[in-house]
């Protein structure tokens, strides 16, 4: 199956799935599908890295298999595990049987618990495999991923090598809290997603919060853009812009004036020092006017 026809078509279908991608994102997504290479998406929190994978699965009607990474993730939870409780039951139930027979029986598909990576590989239907926040894992898990990502196969000692029935489209996301190994990066296409320009961001706000008025959406996007110009500990992301628009709709506010900004700033800025700085900048702006 071909995933997408061309970059332009990718952009269109992602937009239909509710994800407004820019040229670079659409082109790279298309390339990842066309070349059959994993796509490593990097960028600040809340710019829609995970959402990209979800949108691809929605746009192509593929199944989404998600592996959420965290510190201490291991093979048993990423790849596969033997269901040893069921195996014990099997052994107890087969009292009197010869050992060889039992042995052959307990290491079969029936007793295999597949975890996300193996599930994605064995799936007969088109699959999008999302490996989320890959930078949170330990270095050993990266080694595990290498075999899966480059050859799309998994070696299980008792069963042999399980190859992919159909190549999944792999999307890895990372917040860059640590450098990923060169070996992993080399196997991936790299895409850096950043805060979008105003035009696109306004479109995103309007599509995510349909109740919001055009003018208010414009004001919110302008205000967020101004906030990003300030030197903040955490710049507001798209997710926060959307939250802000939602808040204003819920409060039934028609225009974004200074008072409203001061009252609802907590939705966009999550650090006390950022808050103070933004208000100071706002006051300075007013004095100049």
């Amino acid at each position: 199956m071909t995933w997408f026809e061309s970059p332009a078509e990718t952009e269109k279908r992602l937009a239909e799935a509710g994800y407004l991608a820019d040229t670079a994102t659409a082109t790279t997504t298309y390339l990842a599908a066309a070349l059959g290479k994993p796509l490593l998406v990097e960028g600040p929190a809340g710019v829609g890295k995970t959402e990209l994978a979800k949108a691809v699965s929605r746009a192509t009607g593929a199944e989404l298999v998600r592996l959420q990474c965290y510190e201490g993730l291991d093979e048993a939870r990423a790849l596969y595990e033997w269901n040893y409780k069921k195996q014990l039951l099997r052994i107890q139930a087969s009292q009197g049987q010869a050992w060889d027979e039992t042995h052959d029986q307990i290491f079969t598909e029936e007793f295999l618990l597949t975890r996300p990576l193996l599930t994605a590989i064995r799936n007969e239907h088109p699959t999008v495999l999302l490996v989320d926040e890959v930078d949170k894992t330990d270095v050993e898990v990266e080694g595990l991923l290498l075999e899966v990502l480059s050859d799309f196969q998994v070696s299980i000692p008792e069963l042999g090598t399980v190859g992919a029935v159909r190549r999944p489209l792999v999307v890895l996301t990372s917040n860059a809290t640590r450098e990923l190994s060169e070996a992993l990066k080399r196997r991936c296409l790299f895409l850096h997603v950043d805060h979008p320009d105003k035009e696109r961001e306004r479109a995103i706000v309007v599509s995510q919060v349909p109740e919001v008025e055009e003018a208010l959406a414009g004001q919110v996007v302008d205000a967020v853009a101004a906030l990003r110009q300030l030197e903040l500990r955490k710049s507001p992301s798209i997710a926060e812009t959307v939250d802000w628009a939602r808040t204003l709709v819920a409060l039934q506010v028609g225009t974004l004036d200074d008072d409203v900004v001061a009252r609802t700033l907590g939705v966009v800025l999550k650090h006390a020092s950022d808050h103070d700085r933004a208000l100071a900048a706002l006051a300075g702006e007013r004095r100049r006017r």
Binding site: P7, T27, T28, L31, A34, L189, H192, S273
Partner: protein, 449 residues
């Protein structure tokens, strides 16, 4: 020149600009270009970026090299009314170039102002207009006079000087225009002299390889944004390594309890966590003019890392010592802190000339109690002491009092000991480490833990 030659030259130029591109990545790039075709320039850029880049810090350098090897247009472009800069040399009008009188200047300034205003209102919508204006500005006002045909040079400095765009719009917008002009000048130069020549001389280094002392103001800003993720990255790495080593004595109770589920056989052993010993850190920082930029960055990183240390105390000195710990309260604004830090230089100097010996002596007199057997001592400075007294015994005593000590020097080791540099004398007492860019700083902090 075939397309393949262009491709390999491009890869070579990227490598020369400090962006590691492997053979396999080059092959991937060819496959990607093959899958996409050459129809669209931005698509080509995206294809190369996706396959060759592995780190966002390399992006500015990549874009510059890309613009050189895959230019948007040749000469002055077609049909935009201004003459062809490289082409027909016999035509006298062409050799003189498009007119650049005061009338054209006023007209262009007005249009740039409008474009910048429109650019501010609807971000990205008028980028094409602005690019065209930058092109025209360079064609009209950037030409260096007195060169023969085929020898033309263009200068971003001349262009920006004549156009004087500073008062035409907001700072960010003007900066964008300046960047466009610089890109255009590089493109023009690449056409005349070949892209490899320009790539070698004009492409800027990635921000994590950049010297603290040589960075321009825009690059300093970018570095400051880079330092927070760097600290986070280092902190998480340090944390991970600490955790790995944290296997303490056997926890008998937990091991026995866990063995219940496996019929009394202790399959996994449990251990008591080892108590993490977190050291104190004392930073002594030279804030005289010559190393100010370097010191600011290092201090920012040290304070970003303060979760790793129990207590951090910082002192600045020129020829006297001043404590600045309170300027870095938790969650304080980094920009304010940096401003206060440079203001503190006034408190740290008596006569205004760096004197390491004096500063160390004053520190030993006033803040000797800051150093304990749990303290790490960090000295930041270029060890240029204006031929003053070095107070080596005092320094030896300080080093002895601290648990470990280091000296970070922003100068290249080959300059140590030249002129009034006293680096070798101090290096004999405590390990001196070269630290000129973010990469070296990151490596040092990693070794610190």
């Amino acid at each position: 020149m075939t397309l393949l030659d262009r491709h390999t030259d491009f890869l070579h130029a990227l490598r020369a600009a400090g962006i590691p591109v492997s053979l396999a990545e080059g092959l991937d790039a060819v496959r990607a270009v093959d899958a996409l075709g050459l129809g669209e320039r931005e698509t080509l850029r995206a294809a190369y970026a996706a396959t060759l880049l592995k780190r966002q810090a390399h992006r500015p350098g990549f874009d510059q090299v890309f613009d050189l090897y895959w230019p948007a247009l040749v000469g002055d472009g077609v049909g935009d009314g201004v003459g062809d800069g490289v082409g027909d040399a016999t035509d006298p009008e062409e050799a003189v170039g498009p007119s650049d009188g005061p009338a054209e200047l006023a007209d262009l300034r007005e249009r740039v102002e409008q474009a910048l205003a429109a650019d501010g209102a609807a971000d990205g919508a008028d980028a094409g207009d602005l690019t065209a204006l930058a092109r025209e500005a360079v064609a009209r006002f950037g030409r260096i006079r007195g060169r023969g045909p085929g020898e033309q040079r263009w200068s971003a400095y001349n262009t920006l000087n004549r156009v004087a765009a500073d008062d035409l719009g907001g700072r960010a917008a003007v900066r964008r225009f300046e960047e466009l002009v610089e890109t255009e000048v590089r493109r023009r130069a690449a056409e005349v002299r070949g892209p490899d020549h320009v790539a070698r001389h004009a492409v800027r280094t990635a921000v994590d390889q950049l010297d603290f002392s040589r960075a321009s103001r825009a690059e300093l800003d970018r570095m400051r944004h880079e330092i927070q993720p760097l600290a986070r990255r280092l902190a998480s790495r340090l944390h991970r390594e600490q955790r790995d080593r944290r296997r303490g004595p056997l926890d008998f109770r937990r091991t026995v309890r866990a063995s219940m589920s496996s019929g009394g056989v202790p399959l996994t052993t449990h251990h008591r966590p080892r108590r993490p010993g977190r050291p104190d850190l004392v930073v002594l920082c030279d804030v005289s003019g010559s190393v100010a930029g370097f010191a600011g960055f290092t201090l920012m990183l040290v304070f970003a890392l303060r979760e790793q240390f129990d207590r951090v105390r910082a002192f600045t000195f020129v020829d006297d010592v001043h404590e600045v710990t309170d300027d870095f309260t938790r969650g304080a604004d980094p920009a304010d802190a940096l401003a206060r830090l440079s203001a503190s230089a006034a408190h740290a100097s008596r006569f205004g000339r760096t004197q390491y010996g004096r500063a160390f002596t004053r520190f030993a007199e006033q803040h000797r109690d800051a150093l304990t057997p749990r303290t790490h001592l960090l000295v930041l400075g270029d060890a240029r002491s204006n031929y003053g007294d070095l107070a080596l015994p005092v320094v030896a005593d300080l080093v002895h009092a601290a648990r470990r000590s280091w000296w970070l020097n922003p100068e290249h080791p080959r300059h140590w000991g030249t002129g009034d540099s006293e680096a070798p004398e101090y290096a004999a007492l405590l390990p001196m480490v070269e630290c000129r860019n973010l990469t070296q700083l990151g490596e040092f902090v990693h070794d610190l833990a």
